[in-house]
């Protein structure tokens, strides 16, 4: 159930940045979540919706973008997308899709990134 603490950290990050940028409204938030994180996007979205009540984030569009798994093969030097069946983490991290080697490193798919926000602010508020 660590979606709750992750959602909480995300909401705090967004509110902090919005405040520093003198936002009067937050229109949209984009969050990137790697497919190998143990986070369920549906649960994450639900919890964010609960946590934003009575904050500047209430009513904003929250986009959760899932990022694919990438790996690097230590034998054939393949670097790129893993063979990923949505229901199976196992295959994706075990074998190089090119040569079948098992000695592979995971290079992407574990992100949990608050990417950007779209805000409304008073004209002329930005730092000179």
């Amino acid at each position: 159930m660590h979606e709750l603490s992750m959602a909480d950290a995300m909401v705090k990050t967004v509110l902090d940045v919005a405040e520093k940028n003198d936002a009067t409204e937050i229109i949209e938030v984009t969050i990137e979540v790697g497919k190998l994180t143990m986070l369920n996007p549906e649960q994450l979205k639900f919890l964010i919706d609960v946590l934003v009540e009575n904050t500047l984030l209430e009513g904003a569009d929250v986009n959760i973008v899932e990022l694919p798994v990438e790996l690097k093969c230590n034998l054939c030097e393949y670097a790129g997308l893993a063979d990923m069946d949505d229901s199976d983490h196992y295959l994706a991290i075990v074998k190089c899709p090119e040569c079948g080697e098992r000695n592979v490193e995971i290079t992407a798919g574990r992100e949990c990134n608050v990417k950007n926000i779209k805000i409304e602010k008073e004209e002329g508020d930005e730092d000179a």
Binding site: M38, C112, I117, E123
Partner: protein, 217 residues
């Protein structure tokens, strides 16, 4: 007049945790303390193994006992008159680097040279959260079923040592212990996997030798 602005944030919570973990490792290195994360399933024998290592290893050992309610495990370690810090996670299912940094405040690092950090019993959530330890030891047991490794690949991919415990009851619970070893090797070809029974003592010397090897590396 209002205007719309896009603000790049690029704040990755995993990266932030990793930075804290790196800082924790520096604190440990400066104090001359080697640290082992102990992760694994509920009831697999994590606490029992650490209790045995406290008695058998020739080191000044400290333990950070993380759990949803940590007083039970912490109480078991305190019997050995070593420094113990209980770390309650409350509703949280894993430790993170920030919590561990707080625990360092109560742990007399100058009095120890080997620190075990016992994580919450869970094969899923702790995987993503480096704590700053030097190595990760994962403890599972045959009673969780011989498909445990396949079902939780990431934790084994990231481990440095895997202990498969309670092999004395493998037959009784119908678990294929060798399959479990092969499944770990499939995920992590170079890893050390030890079959153990804390009850009979099987595998303990190997576990100790491997940990000593990590320390002396």
């Amino acid at each position: 007049m209002h205007k719309i602005a896009e603000v790049e944030i690029q704040h990755d919570i995993m990266v932030a945790n990793r930075k804290l973990a790196d800082r924790n490792q520096k604190i440990l290195d400066d104090a001359g303390v080697f640290s082992v994360d102990v992760l694994g399933a509920i009831g697999s024998g994590k606490t029992s193994l650490i209790e045995i290592l406290i008695q058998k290893m020739d080191h000044k050992i400290g333990v950070i006992a993380g759990d949803v309610i940590s007083k039970f495990d912490a109480g078991r370690f305190e019997k050995y008159n070593i420094p113990v810090v209980g770390l309650n996670t409350g509703k949280e299912c894993h430790l993170d680097a920030h919590l561990v940094e707080h625990a360092f405040g109560d742990m007399p690092l100058e009095l120890i040279d080997l620190l075990f950090i016992e994580n919450v019993g869970n094969l899923i959530c702790p995987v993503d959260f480096d704590l700053g330890s030097h190595v990760r030891m994962v403890v599972i047991s045959v009673s969780e079923g011989d498909d445990t490794v396949e079902k939780h690949p990431l934790i084994f991919k990231e481990a440095d040592l895997v202990v498969i415990n309670k092999i004395d009851i493998a037959e009784a619970v119908g678990a294929d212990q060798d399959k479990m070893v092969l499944d770990v090797k499939e995920l992590n070809p170079n890893i050390k996997v030890i079959k153990s029974s804390l009850k009979t003592g099987q595998g303990l010397d190997e576990i100790i030798n491997i940990i000593e090897g990590f320390i002396n590396k």
